[in-house]
């Protein structure tokens, strides 16, 4: 029984961390219409920077700053934000699919850099020597994992509340206007460049936060954690959950992560032995099919965006289901 609960805590922790990442992507894509095809670069920047800043000294690569953990996590967020700012400045003129291609390239470059620059982050062996905060006091057992989950959950809720307030504000109106029609927004005195950059950096800081928590959870990060697969998983979560809806983003994260985990388990259990080697590939096919299927039959997601989120008029005519 404790085994099952222990596993559920493990599952929920991972899903909650991914949900934070999906919320970050939702700000960029769902609210602002920015197609970030390199989610994993910003997630990874957060993970790497948190571990390098908070870890113990290791021979052979940068690190060992042993910062107080919250500072290390903030550093991870800052690193993701800085990367987004640079990428944003370079790609601001790009729209839609071009932005997607450019950011996808950034993510692949990031992965290759991490894999090859051993002096920086340990190369293929990854960043080791990170002690999870309060581990000495709490040990490695179930209690620690439960408390860690509680902290992640609090951060997830805080991120959700932060974004809900943000998108219901005049700033959220700006983002939606940029998403809907940049030229019209500019004719109404808005500066699209500045707004796009702000949304891109803010969303990436949240992706970096998720990455930092992810790295903390495993006390390890390597190039295997920043493969394009993760970008597609996070995208699938947003599309299935409902772009533009923060609750949808969280719901999608749990649903897709559950389906991913369950399909992995089912394949390893029931697939013929000779097919076992390919279960990973089968999972990729499944997640690709889910994205395509949703886009074809329910592009608005399971929990679609609600219409009015900043202000209502005096005479609501009908309840809008749009």
């Amino acid at each position: 029984m404790i085994g099952v609960i222990s596993y559920l805590v493990f599952f929920a922790t991972t899903a909650s961390i991914l949900a934070i990442a999906v919320l970050g992507l939702n700000l960029q894509w769902g609210n602002t219409g920015l197609f970030n095809g390199g989610v994993v670069a910003f997630f990874g920047a957060g993970a790497y920077a948190t571990l390098i800043l908070g870890g113990t000294p290791q021979a052979g690569h940068l690190g060992g700053f042993e910062l107080f953990y919250p500072l290390a996590l903030l550093g991870g967020m800052a690193a993701a934000g800085l990367l987004a700012w640079i990428v944003g400045l370079l790609t601001l003129r790009l729209r839609h699919d071009y932005l997607a291609i450019a950011t996808f390239g950034v993510a692949v470059a990031f992965e290759n850099l991490m894999r090859n620059a051993e002096w920086l982050a340990g190369g293929a062996k990854g960043v080791r020597g990170f002690e999870r905060p309060l581990r000495e006091a709490l040990g490695d057992g179930f209690l620690y994992n439960l408390l860690f989950f509680a902290v992640v959950l609090v951060i997830l809720i805080a991120t959700y509340l932060f974004l809900e307030r943000l998108v219901a504000s005049p700033f959220g109106r700006l983002l939606r206007a940029i998403r809907e029609d940049e030229e019209a927004a500019q004719s109404l005195g808005k500066n699209p460049t500045k707004i796009r950059l702000t949304a891109f950096v803010t969303g990436s800081v949240i992706l970096g936060l998720a990455g930092g928590l992810y790295g903390t959870f495993y006390a390890f990060v390597s190039p295997q954690d920043v493969l394009p697969t993760l970008t597609f998983q996070i995208w699938a979560m947003l599309i299935v959950g409902g772009a533009g809806n923060n609750r949808g983003a969280i719901f999608g994260a749990f649903l897709i992560w559950g389906a991913w985990t369950a399909s992995g388990w089912a394949l390893s259990r029931f697939a013929p032995v000779e097919a076992q080697l390919y279960t990973g590939s089968v999972q990729f096919i499944l997640i690709g099919s889910v994205i395509v299927g949703m886009l074809m039959w329910r592009p608005q997601g399971l929990l679609p965006e609600k219409l009015v989120v900043s202000q209502r008029g005096k005479t609501p005519l009908v309840k809008q289901g749009v």
Partner: protein, 257 residues
């Protein structure tokens, strides 16, 4: 001569070998409703885009209220009191009509990431003020009852009224309308004209591109005609009707039809 609100000098813009706007010099009179006519491809829309900053001129200058605004981006121009609408309406479709209008005021305190968290009281007070003003403007353009509708689901004519409402939130001194009557049913056109004339009486200057000659002749004075990127006529609507060049180039075809 009355005061000039907007003037251009030697304004030109080419696309490849095509001189879309060719050495255009004109003065828009403060308080006028100036009609801009000309056949398709005459350069009207290009001229509009040069005036509103959507395009940058190859040569020439634009002055608004005596200030050189040549090459300024559209967002800067809106803040300087110049509003524009589009030939094909561009509502923010998945936003409510009210949100479309509330977006427009510049420099809102809640328009930053920090605003909604660190300046909440100021933001709330400002939101209330903007909302009241927006509802007033929507009532003015007869869209009050549609405030909570998605802007993408109102009629084409209502979208044109919505664009006017959005622009009015910036209290512009000059409004450029690109074919306000095109594709709009006659009742809404009358509404729109009524609003334009009411605003004009309160001091707003209008420049209107319009193909509907009846509209131009009845409501615009003066009339400026473009052909092949150049100004071929400038005068009152009566003079326009008697001008042989114009009749030949443009009006003749319309009058025969």
């Amino acid at each position: 001569m009355a005061e000039v609100i907007l003037s251009t000098k030697g304004l030109s813009r080419s696309f490849g070998y095509l001189k879309a706007v060719d050495d255009v010099t004109l003065n828009i009179r403060q308080g006028s409703i100036t009609g801009l006519i000309g056949p398709n491809g005459a350069g009207k829309s290009t001229l509009f885009n040069l005036l509103t900053g959507a395009l940058k001129p190859d040569t020439g200058t634009v002055h608004l209220n005596g200030r050189d605004i040549t090459g300024l981006a559209p967002d800067r121009l809106f803040a300087s009191g110049l509003g524009r609408t589009f030939q094909i309406p561009r509502p923010f479709a998945r936003m409510s009509v009210l949100e479309n209008v509330m977006l427009a005021p510049t420099g809102q305190v809640g328009e930053t990431v920090a605003g909604p968290f660190f300046f909440r009281n100021r933001m709330r007070a400002e939101e209330k003020r903007i909302r009241d003003k927006a509802l007033g403007v929507l009532d003015f353009v007869t869209l009050g009852a549609l405030a909570d509708h998605p802007a993408g689901q109102i009629s084409g004519g209502q979208m044109k009224l919505l664009e006017l409402a959005r622009v009015l939130m910036g209290d512009p001194s000059l409004i450029l309308l690109d074919e306000p009557a095109a594709g709009v049913n006659p009742v809404l056109t009358e509404t729109l004209i009524g609003k334009i004339e009411e605003l004009n009486r309160q001091g707003t200057t209008f420049v209107i591109i319009e193909h509907d000659m009846d509209f131009v002749m009845r409501h615009c004075d003066p009339v400026i005609a473009l052909a092949e990127g150049r100004v071929v006529f400038e005068g009152t609507s009566d003079e326009a009707l008697k001008n042989p060049v114009l009749l030949d180039a443009y009006l003749g075809a319309t009058a025969d039809a």
